[in-house]
């Protein structure tokens, strides 16, 4: 009842601050390591601030990762766009144009969200190859679009479920058909849905690694693969991998910090909470 400094509030804030510090530790370490000169990096001093700040790691890491970053942007943006648009249409049908068996179809869609992707890796690989899409970004985009369908359809379906049916019926009485209702009523109302879904897809695709490494040739490697290359071999100059990690995390972190609200909505929507 009281809001004074009771032991309970001290415990509350104390534990929150300790936890928060623990959660921030890795970033701190990453940041200071990336700002050190390779010579200043040593394990026993890993927590100390850089004696001399070295911004060059970032330029160097960026130079190395630049092609990957470009690839990732192309990949992420186009796959996100395509899968959200398709997801929106699917969600529209799943929530507003149910047909006999549509719930089963939807459940079958959802299943696609939960499979370990290893189980489709070999056929996916062969199929892309047969389609002449192996190695480049288009193949990777296709994979992300297809396997993004379940989650985008789910988010949109749940989003559209909040739009009252009577709105559709009203538009129907007003003389609008399937596509007109979508274009004039549903689509303008789904901007928040698009934001949520595309943020979610953006982070997922940006962060994906398995397909990146299995389905692309060197010139088409996304950022995660680039970073793994950068960090994988040498354990000597840790400033580079750390700077690379920061570069790789930056777009999603920015999205998260600026648009966190929507990101969390996507996260919750993705949890099929019924």
């Amino acid at each position: 009842m009281k809001t004074r400094l009771s032991p309970a509030t001290i415990a509350l804030y104390g534990s929150l601050v300790v936890l928060a510090l623990a959660y921030l530790m890795p970033v701190y370490l990453t940041l200071i390591t990336s700002l050190k000169y390779p010579g200043d990096i040593s394990l026993p001093q890993s927590w100390q601030l850089p004696p001399e700040v070295n911004y060059a790691s970032f330029a160097e890491a960026f130079a190395l990762l630049q092609p990957n970053i470009v690839n990732s942007f192309i990949l992420t943006i186009s796959a996100t766009l395509l899968s959200t648009v398709l997801g929106s249409l699917n969600g529209y049908v799943f929530s507003k144009w149910k047909f006999p068996g549509s719930e089963i179809v939807f459940t079958l869609f959802l299943f696609g969200m939960f499979i370990p992707y290893q189980v489709i890796l070999i056929p996916l690989f062969q199929t892309l190859r047969a389609m002449n899409l192996y190695g480049g970004l288009p193949g990777l985009i296709l994979a992300h679009v297809v396997y993004g369908l379940p989650i985008t359809s789910l988010i949109f379906r749940n989003f559209y479920a909040q739009i009252p049916d009577s709105l559709m019926e009203s538009a129907n009485l007003d003389g609008a058909g399937f596509f007109q209702i979508y274009r004039r009523i549903i689509f303008p109302l789904s901007i928040p849905g698009f934001v949520v879904t595309s943020l979610w897809q953006f982070t997922q695709i940006w962060n994906e690694f398995l397909w990146g490494i299995c389905l692309t040739r060197h010139t088409a490697n996304p950022i995660t693969v680039g970073l793994a290359q950068l960090a994988g071999g040498q354990a000597v100059s840790w400033n580079l991998p750390m700077a690379g990690s920061i570069l790789a995390a930056l777009p999603v972190l920015l999205i998260y910090i600026v648009l966190g609200r929507y990101f969390i909505r996507g996260l919750l929507a993705g949890s099929v909470k019924e």
Partner: protein, 397 residues
């Protein structure tokens, strides 16, 4: 044959990154000089000894997107894998055109070829069975490089007591690497060769003994091995945290190029214990996969690799010796000179860990056997398992 008219791309696939990168870069620079219109894509996949690169390469090849030219260990790794699968082009014509049939040692050409053709261009010779140390440190501790494993076992406990790791080891593939040196010491070169022809079984008493010796050696290695890269293991030696390290002679390149240590003074070497007079070799080579998108560019690249100029630009940086018999030794450092001399006079055997003696299938399964052994330390079982995979992969009988 300068071919400045070439254009397009050339994708070179290798696992040479970081410290090994400059050597490759020297080659690429040479190539670019000659072919300014070709855009060279340096596709490296990091991970020592190609642990990651091999998987990525496989996806590329299977995906019908072969890189223009890729790094591969000469020997069974190439032949037992890609040649058998009929994915490589025969390079005999190139060898003939360039006059390499004479430039390379005959034995080497045999190892990279089969009855039906020659499959890759070797760029270097590495020695696998080398023991590394820092002379100053050894003096400090009052020990000498061991000539045999028994010598080693004599001094190791002392060093260990002093808080120094007697033998630095890194992640799993370096265990294979160590094993082959130990096994060679235990078996002797003839039995070693016999293993790979199937004449000697892995689970024979000799084979099992090799595992037992290996087990004993492991007792003197560092516990955190599996989390270290080979460079970090070498660092341990350089920093004085460890006394010795068995590693291929790319470690010489690392120590001299990256760590700026002078061969002979900053770091010293010896044949790994019990293998004096034996040269366990491996060679990196590049091939031409069928369906390479820029075949002409590749041919120019391969020609450069095999040339004296290319070879002498590359090897001094890489810390290896040239595969050619006519290389200009003045460009090489002291280590390389000594290795080159040894190559001329020692008994040559092939490396297992680096793909000379066995195909990839065996090597992979062997990694599982190694894991099993690292965990259980059961030499008998390891021998049996190794024999089983040898049979499975068409080596043993």
């Amino acid at each position: 044959q300068s071919t400045g008219h070439l254009s397009g791309q050339l994708e070179i696939f290798s696992w040479w990154a970081g410290d090994e990168g400059p050597a490759l870069q020297a080659l690429i620079d040479l190539y670019k000089e000659a072919n300014p219109n070709v855009e060279v894509v340096n596709a490296t996949v990091t991970g020592g000894s190609g642990v990651n690169a091999k998987a990525v390469l496989k996806t590329r090849m299977l995906g019908g997107e072969p890189p223009d030219s890729f790094q591969v260990h000469a020997g069974q790794e190439l032949i037992g894998t890609w040649v058998k699968a009929d994915r490589m082009e025969d390079l005999t014509f190139l060898f003939k055109e360039e006059g390499w049939m004479d430039a390379f040692p005959e034995g080497l050409v045999k190892l990279i070829g089969t009855d039906t053709g020659i499959w890759s261009v070797p760029v270097n010779i590495h020695r696998s069975n080398v023991l590394w140390y820092v002379p100053a440190n050894l003096d400090k501790w009052g020990i000498k490089p061991p000539m045999s494993w028994d010598d080693f076992f004599a001094v190791a406990p002392k060093i260990k007591e002093a808080g120094v790791v007697p033998l630095a080891l890194a992640q799993n593939w370096t265990a294979n690497h160590l094993w082959e040196s130990v096994a060679l010491a235990s078996l002797g070169p003839d039995n070693w060769d016999a293993l790979w022809t199937g004449a000697l079984a892995f689970d024979s008493p000799e084979g099992v003994k090799a595992w037992e010796l290996f087990g004993k050696v492991l007792e003197f290695t560092n516990e955190d091995a599996s989390s270290l890269s080979w460079q970090q293991a070498t660092d341990m030696v350089v920093d004085g945290r460890a006394a010795f390290n068995v590693m291929g002679d790319w470690a010489a390149g690392y120590m001299s190029t990256t760590k700026k240590l002078a061969p002979g003074e900053g770091f010293g070497w010896a044949p790994s214990p019990g293998t004096g007079g034996e040269f366990m070799f491996l060679a990196d080579s590049f091939g031409l996969p069928k369906g390479a998108p820029n075949r002409d560019n590749v041919l120019a690249w391969l020609a450069l690799l095999g040339s004296k100029e290319g070879s002498d630009a590359f090897n001094p940086l890489k810390g290896s010796i040239s595969a050619r018999t006519d290389s200009d030794l003045s460009k090489y450092n002291d280590y390389a000179k000594s290795a080159s001399a040894d190559f001329g006079k020692d008994r040559i055997v092939g490396s297992l860990a680096h793909g000379v003696t066995a195909n990839e299938g065996f090597m992979n399964d062997f990694a599982s056997v190694m894991e099993m052994f690292l965990k259980s330390g059961n030499a008998e079982a390891a021998g049996k398992a190794a024999q089983q995979i040898a049979v499975k992969n068409g080596i043993g009988k």
